[in-house]
């Protein structure tokens, strides 16, 4: 029994890597994840990832922000301490447009980014889970869980065929841990 936990196919070109994904999928090798130094469009469709729902979160946070400041301003200017400014109505809606807009944007931005960080487990000081150090530099890495029944040599050969510049058999899942 080999001690390999993950097999990594390292590509130096995004198109070769896309080809690698196709080759693996044609041979029914399940892909664990793909790590790239830049966003490559089209992988998420190949891997069958659903669209991000962050847009819905952003919309809800925006609604919350707008409602919050508008209600605050209503309470302060109309209910709690109405001011008589030349006999004009205390509830001057056009004057509330700028602040309502600003807080809509503010809540959208912070709410959405916080949701993104929460969903993706990003926060200051989180131990980085890196499978290969060059995946943030110049290597496009396909990671395959070695637990499956497919012989490791077959996976290696498939990756090599597809144009991988290097194939690694890692004993540890993450190389970034001490």
């Amino acid at each position: 029994m080999s001690s390999t936990k993950y097999i990594l196919g390292l590509f130096d070109d995004p198109d070769d890597m896309m080809h690698g994904i196709d080759t693996l999928q044609k041979n029914s090798v399940p892909i664990y994840d793909v790590y790239t130094p830049m966003p490559i469009h089209g992988i998420e469709r190949k891997l069958g990832l659903k669209d991000s729902r962050l847009g819905y979160a952003a919309f809800m946070f925006g609604c919350l922000g707008g409602t919050t400041i508008f209600s605050m301003a209503y309470f302060m200017l109309v209910h709690d301490w109405p001011m008589n400014i030349g006999g004009k109505p205390a509830f001057a809606i056009p004057d509330l447009v700028p602040i309502t807009f600003e807080w809509t944007v503010l809540f959208t931005a912070f709410g959405m980014v916080t949701t993104f960080f929460y969903a993706t487990h990003l926060f200051p000081g989180r131990a980085p889970r890196v499978m290969d150090f060059r995946a943030t530099d110049d290597r496009f890495v396909i990671a395959i869980d070695a637990k499956g029944s497919i012989p490791h040599e077959d996976i290696t050969n498939l990756l090599k065929q597809a144009g991988a510049v290097e194939v690694k058999h890692n004993d540890r899942k993450y190389v970034s841990y001490e």
């Binding site: 990832l49 962050l54 200017l77 004057d95 959405m112 487990h121 131990a127 980085p128 110049d138």
Partner: protein, 490 residues
């Protein structure tokens, strides 16, 4: 998609012949991973001296009150608000580059957005310090926020543009910061994975555990797109609201309905000039000529020309409306810009902003680096004088001639202003020392489609329209980072 190749007639966004993904990382991270050179130390020493002057002058203001400035009963706003509007305006280019150009899919933004956004953040910090300083008693800044207090509660007046401004500037600053930092995460992870020891620890904390997996990138792109979508109206609203600080008053020279678009155009104008001032030096000193190319410089100069011309049209409109309104105070205010005691400030404003930028119509000037650099500084001098003219020259002669007065800056006014420039450059120099000044991930994205080497390969492959290839080769002549002789054989 990475393999998408674009039309040959588009100019390359990355020049150089042996650019690989690894080379991009190495080139961009050279100043971060190595000790800075002599130029950096000289710049940093001078800038931090300026920052010290700023600390001293602002502390002096807090200790003795704003009586230490040259203000008087007639001119109650002067260098403080001039400086504030100037800095906020400079900040606008960063958001324009990062948000509006993203929505318009302008790929040339990819190599300048990071440093332009950093510049935005530092400029808004400088602007905000002016606001706190001009309150005289800085702890009173708390009263501009709608928080319960012991006076009733006495709430802020949401009918006032000054309160809108508090909301606009604080939202603008925090949203820009979030946008900038989110974009930095992948690049911080790159530094982390190359570093060792303490540096690795620090960048590890800063990169939030970024891994670059498919799902992370997918969410990242969604977040960036939505942030760009909301930052676009935000940046326009910010300077609109700044202009309303003036436009909603009854002061001749201030209560102008064209102020919002006029201020927004002016802001983008001065902001791009500052980006140009910084990047023309940065690209040379850090050796980034292959990424910030002549195409970028010319494109920015074209935006400066466009926005400068919009500002010019706004100036003409103002004069015409003053004449056409028949209001004698309004007419006097505009005449006073040329025949009053501050005529020289008016000349600086109109000369630097309108006359000098019209030189950008000439391609020779747009693509000449030293001239572009000088012009970018001229623009910012002009834009500072624009705010000075609008604020001080309008105020100093109001409705009642007995209250007419002059404004003379004191050494504190001067020190706060010079100091704030020092503060800005200190922050910028620290930025290029510890963070990647070019968004590496985004530049890598366009390497296969828009680089000079990719296009050269296309030409060598043949079967392209000869006329288009000739057109492309001609467009390369202006680039200072392209070896034109390489193209003789292909």
């Amino acid at each position: 998609m990475a393999s998408h190749s674009e039309s040959i007639i588009r100019e390359p966004l990355i020049t150089g012949t042996d650019i690989t993904y690894a080379k991009i990382t190495n080139d961009v991270l050279r100043p971060v991973e190595n000790m800075p050179g002599k130029a950096w130390w000289i710049g940093f020493s001078v800038a931090s001296l300026g920052a010290c002057l700023w600390v001293f002058a602002v502390s002096y203001t807090f200790w003795y009150g704003i009586g230490s400035w040259g203000l008087n009963k007639t001119v109650g706003w002067a260098w403080d608000i001039t400086g504030f509007v100037w800095w906020v305006g400079i900040g606008h280019a960063g958001t324009l580059i990062s948000a509006i150009l993203l929505l318009f899919r302008q790929n040339w933004r990819n190599s300048i957005n990071r440093s332009a956004e950093a510049m935005t953040i530092f400029a808004v910090i400088c602007a905000a310090t002016y606001i706190v300083a001009h309150m005289g008693r800085p702890w009173m800044a708390l009263f501009s926020l709608p928080i319960p207090n012991q006076y009733g509660s006495l709430w802020v007046n949401f009918n006032s543009p000054l309160i809108w401004d508090v909301f606009a500037i604080s939202t603008y600053f925090s949203v820009s910061l979030v946008f900038w930092y989110t974009g930095l995460l992948p690049d911080l992870a790159t530094i982390r994975d190359r570093a060792t020891g303490v540096r690795r620890r620090i960048y590890s904390v800063m990169s939030f555990g970024w891994s670059g997996s498919v799902k992370t990138w997918q969410r990242f792109e969604t977040v960036c797109l939505i942030l760009a979508g909301i930052s676009t109206p935000l940046v326009l609203s910010v300077h609109t609201i700044v202009s309303m600080d003036f436009a909603t008053s009854l002061e001749p020279g201030w209560h102008t309905t064209i102020f919002p678009p006029y201020f927004v155009a002016g802001a983008i104008f001065s902001g791009f000039a500052m980006v140009q001032t910084l990047l023309l030096v940065t690209r040379k000193v850090l050796g980034l000529e292959n990424y910030i190319t002549m195409f970028h410089i010319e494109a920015m100069n074209k935006i400066i020309l466009l926005t400068g011309s919009i500002v010019g049209v706004a100036y003409l409109t103002e004069f015409f409306i003053a004449f056409y309104s028949g209001g004698e105070y309004e007419q006097y205010t505009f005449l006073n810009r040329f025949i009053g005691p501050y005529w020289w400030a008016g000349c600086m404003m109109y000369g630097c902003n309108v006359l000098m930028t019209q030189l950008m119509w000439f391609k020779k000037i747009r693509t000449n680096i030293p001239i572009s650099w000088v012009l970018s500084i001229v623009v910012n001098i002009g834009m500072w004088f624009e705010r000075f003219v609008i604020i001080v020259v309008s105020l100093h002669r109001d409705f009642v001639p007995s209250s007419w007065a002059m404004f003379y800056p004191t050494w504190v006014d001067l020190s706060v202003f010079i100091g704030s420039i020092g503060l800005f450059f200190t922050m910028f120099l620290l930025f290029i020392r510890v963070l990647p000044s070019i968004a590496m991930a985004e530049v890598k994205l366009i390497l296969k489609s828009s680089s000079e080497q990719a296009k050269k390969k296309l030409i060598q492959h043949g079967d392209l329209d000869r006329e288009q290839v000739e057109f492309y080769k001609e467009s390369l002549v202006k680039f200072d980072s392209v070896e034109i002789s390489d193209y003789e054989k292909v």
